[in-house]
C-alpha cells in the first residue's frame, strides 16, 4: 500500500500575550492508503491542531512555522491557505469531521444545500445531480427516508443523526483521507458504536483512509491499525495498535492505560497520573512529561527532550530515555 500523506517535523505555534504556545512542536506522521490511524492525547496536547494544520485551517494568532506536509508528492505548505490548490484539496481530497455536530453544521441551510455545496464545487455537478447524490449519501449513512429529510434543517435532527450528516458531507467527494476529530465524544455510547461502525464501513467502501483523533483509548483499540500518542505538542509513542496496547513503552502511555477504569477488569484502585499537563507557554527544556513521570532518572532531569527512538516491534518508537521494559516496579494492568 502506498504512502498517502506524510507530515514531517510540523510546527504550529500560537502567539499569545503570555508567550508563544507551541501547540504542535515537531510532529511527524504518515498515513498509508486505506489505513485507519488513531491519534490519542488529552486536551491541549495538539492532536486537533495537527490535523487542522494538515487542512491549513489555522488562523491567527496561530501559524504553521515549519515542516512539510507531503500529499500526493506535493508539499501542501507551499500552497496559499486560500489558494485554488488548497481549496481543491480541502473538502475534496482530504475531508474533516468535527467534534460537535451541533455547531459544525450551518443552522440556516438545509442539508441539501450543505451537502451539495462541496459536490458542485469539487466535482462540478449540476444542482440536480448534486441533490440526487446527496440523497444517496444520506441513505448510505443510514438516515431513514432521505428524499424527505434532505430539505430539513440541522435542528430537526438529533445529535447522532447530525454526526451521520457530517459523515455524509465528509465522504461526499470521495476523499482520499477522512479526518475525524473526536467524532463521537459528544454522543452516547450506543450511538458512538453505531457511528464508528458506520465510519469504518464507509471508508472501506470508498477505499479511503481514516484518521481518528480521540482521547478515548478504547475507541482506537478496536478500529485503528496504527496509533500515535501525543503529549504537550509532541508524539511520545507511535506504533502498531497491538504493540502499543500489549507492550506500552512510554511512561505516559502506561499512565493513560492504568488510569482508565475498565469494564473487563474487577474494580482495583486506579493508578492516576499525578500532577497536571504542562503549561504550553512555559515548557521546560527537558522532557515535558518529567514532572509527572514516576520513572524519571537523573538523565531525564539533565538531558534535553529526548528524540523518538525505535524499540522492539515494527515501527514502534518512543520519546523517552527510560526503557520501561527494564524497570522492575512497573505495573501495567492487564
Amino acid at each position: 500500500m502506498g504512502r498517502l500523506l506524510e507530515v514531517k517535523d510540523l510546527k504550529t505555534y500560537f502567539k499569545t500575550d503570555d508567550g508563544i504556545v507551541k501547540a504542535v512542536d515537531g510532529v511527524s506522521f504518515y498515513i498509508d492508503e486505506q489505513e485507519i490511524v488513531g491519534v490519542v492525547g488529552e486536551s491541549g496536547c495538539g492532536k486537533t491542531v495537527t490535523q487542522l494544520s494538515v487542512m491549513q485551517l489555522i488562523n491567527r494568532p496561530g501559524r504553521i512555522v515549519g515542516g512539510e506536509i507531503i500529499f500526493e508528492g506535493k508539499n501542501l505548505l507551499e500552497y496559499e491557505q486560500h489558494g485554488p490548490e488548497m481549496r481543491s484539496i480541502r473538502g475534496g481530497k482530504i475531508a474533516m469531521i468535527f467534534q460537535e455536530p451541533m455547531t459544525s453544521l450551518n443552522p440556516v441551510l438545509t442539508l441539501n444545500q450543505q451537502i451539495s455545496e462541496s459536490l458542485m464545487l469539487h466535482l462540478k455537478m449540476s444542482k440536480e445531480e448534486a441533490r440526487k447524490r446527496a440523497i444517496e449519501l444520506l441513505g448510505l449513512v443510514g438516515i431513514p427516508s432521505p428524499e424527505e429529510r434532505i430539505d430539513d434543517y440541522p435542528h430537526q435532527f438529533s445529535g447522532g443523526m447530525r454526526q451521520r450528516v457530517m459523515i455524509a458531507m465528509g465522504m461526499a467527494c470521495n476523499p482520499k483521507i477522512l479526518i475525524a476529530d473526536e467524532p463521537t465524544t459528544a454522543l452516547d455510547v450506543t450511538t458512538q458504536a453505531q457511528l464508528l461502525e458506520l465510519m469504518k464501513s464507509m471508508v472501506e467502501q470508498f477505499k479511503s483512509s481514516l484518521v481518528i483523533v480521540t482521547h478515548n483509548l478504547g475507541v482506537v483499540a478496536r478500529y485503528a491499525q496504527r496509533i500515535y500518542i501525543m503529549y504537550a505538542g509532541k508524539v511520545v509513542e507511535e506504533g502498531k495498535c497491538k504493540d502499543i496496547f500489549k507492550n506500552p513503552r512510554h511512561p505516559y502511555t502506561v499512565g493513560l492505560l492504568n488510569s482508565v477504569p475498565r469494564l473487563d477488569v474487577e474494580g482495583e484502585r486506579l493508578i492516576p497520573i499525578e500532577g497536571l499537563p504542562p503549561n504550553l507557554t512555559q515548557m521546560p527544556p527537558t522532557c515535558a512529561f518529567l514532572p509527572r513521570c514516576p520513572y524519571a532518572t537523573e538523565q531525564c532531569r539533565t538531558q534535553p527532550m529526548p528524540e523518538l527512538r525505535p524499540v522492539e516491534g515494527e515501527g514502534h518508537k518512543i520519546r523517552c530515555y527510560v526503557d520501561i521494559a527494564e524497570v522492575d516496579n512497573v505495573t501495567v494492568k492487564k
Binding site: 455510547v189 450511538t191 458504536a193 453505531q194 478504547g218 483499540a221 499512565g255 482508565v260 473487563d264 486506579l270
Partner: protein, 332 residues
C-alpha cells in the same frame, strides 16, 4: 465494604418516583403534554453504599438525582430520606434536609460562581447553615476541607478561573463536603475531565467515603459504564425514565439480563485490541425515543432484538431474579 452498625437501616428509599415536566402551548400556557422524564423509579440505598445510575442522555438519570435533592418537586412518589418522606415538603422545611444531602455537578466550569473566591465557595454552606461559631472556626474548617480534597489552603483567595478543571472539581467536592452530609449526589462528576485527571477524582471520591466523621453514601450518576462499574456497590441502568435493571457491578458485567444492558455493555469499547477483536457487538438500531411520546408497553421494545408482540402491550415491572438482581423485562 465497611458497614456501619445500622446495617439494615436504609438511608434513602425512593418509591415509584415520577417527575413530569409539562409542555405548554399558546398564550394561556395550556398544558398539552407531559415529558415523562422519570416515570416510576424505585430503589433503596443503605448507609455507606454507592449506587451508580447509568443510562444515555435523556434517560432521566440527572432528573432522578435532582428530584431526590428536591431541586424539583416530584409529580408523584415518595422519597424517604432518614425516615422522613421529603417528596412534598414545602421549601421552608427543606433546609435541614439539604444540609444532609449535597450535590456535585458535572461541569466544573459553570457550577462555580466566577466572582467568588474558592474559599468563599467552599465556606458558603457553613454560613448558610450557621455551622461555624466564629471566624477562626470558619477558616479552620475551610482549610480542613481544602486539605481533604487535596488542594493547598493557600489557594483559598484565588478565583475559579485560576484553577484547572480537575482542581475546580475538587473545589466542588469540598463544597459538597462542607456541611458534613450523609448523602452526596454526584452528577457526572468526571465526564468533563481529561482521562488522567478522571482517575484522580475517582480515587478521591472513594477515599473520602470513609475519611470523614460519618460514612458517606453516594448516588453516582454517569453515562460511562466503566466508571460506574468501578465505583459502585450497586448499579441501576435507566432507559427512558425507568430503571430496567439493578444489581451489583460484577453481576451486571458477567450476567446482564436486560437486552438494553447487554447492548450498552457491548457498546463500551475496551482498551485492548485483542479482546476487541473477539468481542461481539450488539449495535442497537435507531435512537432513544422522545420521552414526550414514549412507546407503549416496554419502552425499549422498538429497538429490542428480543421483542415479541406482547412487549408492546404490557409494561414490565422490576422483579427479583435471585440475589437482588432486579430486571424489568418480560422475556427474562
Amino acid at each position: 465494604m465497611s458497614q456501619s452498625k445500622n446495617n439494615n437501616e436504609y438511608l434513602l428509599e425512593v418509591k415509584d418516583l415520577k417527575m413530569y415536566f409539562p409542555v405548554t402551548r399558546g398564550l394561556l400556557r395550556r398544558k398539552v403534554a407531559d415529558v415523562k422524564a422519570v416515570d416510576g423509579v424505585s430503589f433503596s440505598l443503605k448507609k455507606g453504599e454507592t449506587l451508580g445510575l447509568v443510562g444515555e442522555s435523556g434517560c432521566g438519570k440527572t432528573t432522578v438525582g435532582r428530584t431526590i435533592n428536591r431541586l424539583y418537586k416530584p409529580t408523584a412518589g415518595e422519597i424517604i430520606f432518614q425516615g422522613e418522606d421529603i417528596a412534598q415538603l414545602p421549601e421552608k422545611e427543606l433546609k435541614p434536609v439539604r444540609r444532609e444531602m449535597a450535590m456535585i455537578f458535572q461541569d466544573p466550569y459553570s457550577s462555580l460562581d466566577p466572582r467568588q473566591s474558592a474559599g468563599n465557595i467552599v465556606g458558603e454552606p457553613l454560613i448558610v447553615h450557621n455551622i461555624t461559631k466564629n471566624k477562626d472556626d470558619y477558616y479552620e474548617r475551610v482549610e480542613r476541607l481544602f486539605q481533604m480534597v487535596g488542594l493547598d489552603p493557600a489557594l483559598m483567595n484565588r478565583y475559579p478561573h485560576e484553577f484547572s478543571g480537575g482542581q475546580r472539581q475538587r473545589i466542588g467536592i469540598a463544597r459538597a463536603l462542607a456541611c458534613n452530609p450523609s448523602l452526596i449526589i454526584c452528577d457526572e462528576p468526571v465526564s468533563a475531565l481529561d482521562v488522567s485527571i478522571q482517575a484522580q477524582i475517582i480515587n478521591l471520591l472513594m477515599d473520602l467515603k470513609s475519611e470523614g466523621d460519618k460514612l458517606l453514601t453516594y448516588i453516582f450518576i454517569a453515562h460511562d459504564l466503566s466508571v460506574v462499574k468501578h465505583i459502585s456497590d450497586r448499579v441501576a441502568v435507566m432507559y427512558l425514565g425507568r430503571v430496567v435493571e439493578i444489581t451489583t457491578p460484577g453481576e451486571l458485567y458477567n450476567n446482564p439480563l436486560h437486552p438494553y444492558t447487554q447492548a450498552l455493555l457491548s457498546a463500551v469499547p475496551v482498551p485492548d485490541p485483542e479482546i476487541e477483536e473477539k468481542r461481539e457487538r450488539i449495535i442497537l438500531e435507531g435512537e432513544v425515543p422522545s420521552p414526550l411520546f414514549p412507546p407503549s408497553g416496554c419502552t425499549f421494545h422498538p429497538r429490542c432484538p428480543m421483542a415479541t408482540p406482547e412487549c408492546s402491550k404490557t409494561t414490565p415491572e422490576l422483579r427479583d431474579c435471585g440475589n437482588g438482581h432486579m430486571v424489568a423485562c418480560l422475556r427474562v
